[in-house]
Each structure stands twice: as structure tokens, then as C-alpha cells.
Symmetry: C2
Subunit: 300 residues, 2 copies
Amino acid sequence: MDRAALKTYLSDRKSEVDRVLQSYLPGPTCDPPLLHEALRYSLFAGGKRIRPILCLASCEAVGGRTEVALPFAASIELIHTYSLVHDDLPAMDDDTYRRGKLTNHKMFGESTAILAGDALLTAAFTMLAEKGLSSTVSPKKILRVILELGSASGSTGMVGGQLNDIEAQGKDDLSLEKLKRIHSHKTGVLIRASVRVGGILGGAGPKKLSSLTSFGEKIGLAFQIADDVLDVEGEAQTLGKPVGQDESKGRCTYPALMGLSRAKKEATVLVEEALSEIEFLGPEADPIRQIASFIIDREK
Amino acid sequence: MDRAALKTYLSDRKSEVDRVLQSYLPGPTCDPPLLHEALRYSLFAGGKRIRPILCLASCEAVGGRTEVALPFAASIELIHTYSLVHDDLPAMDDDTYRRGKLTNHKMFGESTAILAGDALLTAAFTMLAEKGLSSTVSPKKILRVILELGSASGSTGMVGGQLNDIEAQGKDDLSLEKLKRIHSHKTGVLIRASVRVGGILGGAGPKKLSSLTSFGEKIGLAFQIADDVLDVEGEAQTLGKPVGQDESKGRCTYPALMGLSRAKKEATVLVEEALSEIEFLGPEADPIRQIASFIIDREK
């Protein structure tokens, strides 16, 4: 699979995910219209659907059928979008732009943004259950998927990571170990869970699932390092938000802690390690291998 | 079942629910400790566990085993508590006290309160899936329960009702019809869902489930009217928050729209109608009948 084929793959998968989300969510005129407009605004703000696509590619990598995994993969984007809407709030990171557009609370007001996030999170689990009831996947497997995503997003996962991140802001004595801990919770666990859910839905046995888990952990961390690097190096136009924000907000980042070139090297090594975890899988794992490399090479 | 027996029933059920929640949630020293302290602060702030108890009593009413329904009933309290924490936020109702204690954001700060609410909501669905995987209830039935609670709590249910409520604040031309709509979504749907979930877990057929649904709808509305009445009539000490808050905040209420005595009459009629819906059930429905009457008669 060359670069052009990967681009087509990513764009096809994104369209599939978007189609499922579009048809699942209540329309923008549904009562209350303001709420549905607000949650759709952030959900369809141009996200690349990396997590659902990782889930689908992971399902494919173990020989599963992606059309069966699709609605469950799509629900992960609802969780991811809710976390962005809440993270941007004035009481949290207080951000004005996201993906080149005003953040949800700047557009719709703070109370609507809080409620839009709440509604997106609730919709994720509702969608998992609803799609699960009409799926060929066994209900027990769907419960495992819900448990997987719930654990990854909750107080000991993503939400906990966000709290640790807020607590760490402005502290200049943060150790690399603590920074890794924050990121592994704030970003890493949901990426790992996306990969694992794909494996579970694709029917992976314990060995494959365990390899996918390590793979997901490593690319999750590489993804965050690449994000930090992009904040230093990226073009504001490509990124859709002002660059250099991390530094100006006193956020601790990998480039700040280990220098830019070592951070880039670290991300590359992590992706190599991730790839070796799934080396034993066949050519059906090619898409997920390509996505792993793309993760540290995007936006350039 | 006399008044004393009902009191014992409610207190026993509450203890069971509390025990399940205590052992399910990460301890207050679990990382991040601030988050777990904050979510436990609101969860164990003295709530009466009306929704889980309604769920258990509804299960009992159709001949089901309450010990099987218990973990799922308890998870409803996580959803209810999250909604209170977020409703109290400065951007929402901006409340300082709840159940006689400082609200979550007054105690822990706004960002922690938002995250504690997010974590509680996530924990509800995680708990449903996790307990479902080790339950004797079929996984398919658990998916139905998750769908039921998710739909009731989401953008077309509770979250939508909260947005409508915020939009309506300060408007003095609100019609009774609109007020009913707000309350049926903000409070009613989760109460109805609690009753329905009990029925589903107890193995209710379509006829019983449909009666329980109407029953739940009517007592949900009666509950909200009684709440409004309590705000006018109740003692601040018993209620745990300042009385007369609705009026001072320009909130539209039933007593304001229809007068205090008509509001009380309306609640009584709704409970009578609710009781007639489940008249055909046997003596095993006595607890839920008693709870229905208690709902408009509490705190006195």
C-alpha cells in the first residue's frame, strides 16, 4: 500500500464513519434544535476519524469484517468529540479555536457546550447498545466493547488524564515519567481501546489481542508526541489552530522536556516497536501498519 | 405496608444500593485522588436513591428477583448524580448548596466538577456492562437496559430537558404545556426509565411493561410537581437547601403557573392515575404503590 492508496483508504473509511454518524444522530432541527446543532457542529468539524479508522483497520488485521464493526467504531468518535468539547471549556483549557473553527462554547455558549458534550458521551453508549441489538455480533461481545470503551474513558482513564493534565499546567518541574502518565491516560487509553475493540469485534484470540494492545499503547503515545511536535513545527493553516499554544499556555510537552529532535526520534522508535508487535500478522494488517506510520508523519 | 414498614423498606433498599456503589467505584485515594474524592462527595451526599429503589420495586412488582436487578438499579444513581453535578455548575443553574452541602464545584472547583460529572456518567455505562458480563441476566437484556437508560438521559431526554429549562429561565410567558414538556424530559424520562428497567429485568411481558411505563410517566411528573411545591412550602432545614430559590431565580414552576393548591391537587390526581395503571398487579406491587404515594408526601 503506497501513500496514495493509504490516502484513499483513510478517506473511504472516514466517509463510512461519517455516514453512520449522520444517520444515527437526531437531525439539527430535532428538539431542542440548539443542542442538536451544537453537538453536530463539533462532531462534523472536520475530524479525521483516526480512532474509528484504527478500530476498523484492527478488525481487518485479525481477519474480521469491517462492515460489522463499523457502527461500534463510529461510536468511538462520539466519545472523542465529547472529550474535545469539554476540554476546550473556559474552566478547562479555555481554547478559542479547534480545527480552524470556533470552539463549541465560543459558538453556542458555555451551558450548551457542557450539555452537548454530555449528550455526545451518552449517545456513544446508547449507540453501542442500539446497534448491538440489531447486530450479528453477540450481545456478550458488545458488552465487552462497552466495558472496554467505558473503562478507557472514565475516571481511571481519559477523564483522570485530563484532570492530571490540568493539575500539571504551569508546573515547570514535571518529570518525563509524569508527562507520559498524563498522556497515556488522556490520549493513549482511548487509542489503545479503539485498537482493542477492533480486535475483539474481529474475533482476535488472546495472543493477537495482546499484541494489538501493545501496538495500540505504543502508537497512542507516539500520536501524542507527534501532536506536541506539530504544535511547535506545524503551520497554523494546516493545523487549523494557532501553533505554539502549548508554550504560551505553559503546557508541558515532549519537545519542551526532551528537545525537539529527541521527541521526534522517540515517536519514530515507538512506531517501529509498535510495528514489530504485529509483525506476525498477515497482509490483512497492512492498513493498520500504514496508519501507524502516518500517525507521526501527518500534516506535513 | 404501613408508614413504618415503608420507611424500613426504603432504608434497606438504600443501604443495598449504597453498598453496591461503594464497592464498585474506585476508592477516594485512587489516582487521581481529587477526582475520586469529588465524585464520591456528590454520590454519597445523602441522596435517597429514589430511582434505583423504584427500579427494584418495579422488578419486584412483576415477580422478578431484586438481588439480580440491584447492580443495574444502582448504576441509575450514577446517571442521576452526574446530572445534578452538571446542573449545579456556574454556567448552568449556578447553585451553591445541594442536600445541605456545598455543591461539587463550590467544593472542588469548576473543572473538577465538570470532570467528576463526566466520570460519573461514564461509570454508569461501564458498570452496566461490567455487571452485565457477570450476571445471570442475558446480555441481550442488558443491552436493552443500556439503550433504555441512554435514550432517557441523552439529547432527546434529560440533557435536552436541561437545555430547555435553561432557555426558559426568566421567561414569564411560559405555558403550562411547555413547563410539562421541560419537566417530562428533565426529570420524568429517567424516572420512567428506572421503572421500565425494573420491569425489563423482572421479566415483564408487553402488557405489564406498558402499564409500568404509564405508571412511571405519571409519578415522574408528580415527583417534579411535588419538588416545586416543596420549594415553596418546605423547611430549609429538612430540604437541605434554601427554600424559595425557584422564585428568586425566576424559574417557572407549577405553583407559580397554577397556584399552590391546584399544583398539590394535580400531583395527587397523577399519583391516583398512576396507581390505577398497576391495579391489576398482585400484592408484590405493594412496595411500588407505597413509594408512589410517598413521592408526593415526602419531607413533611
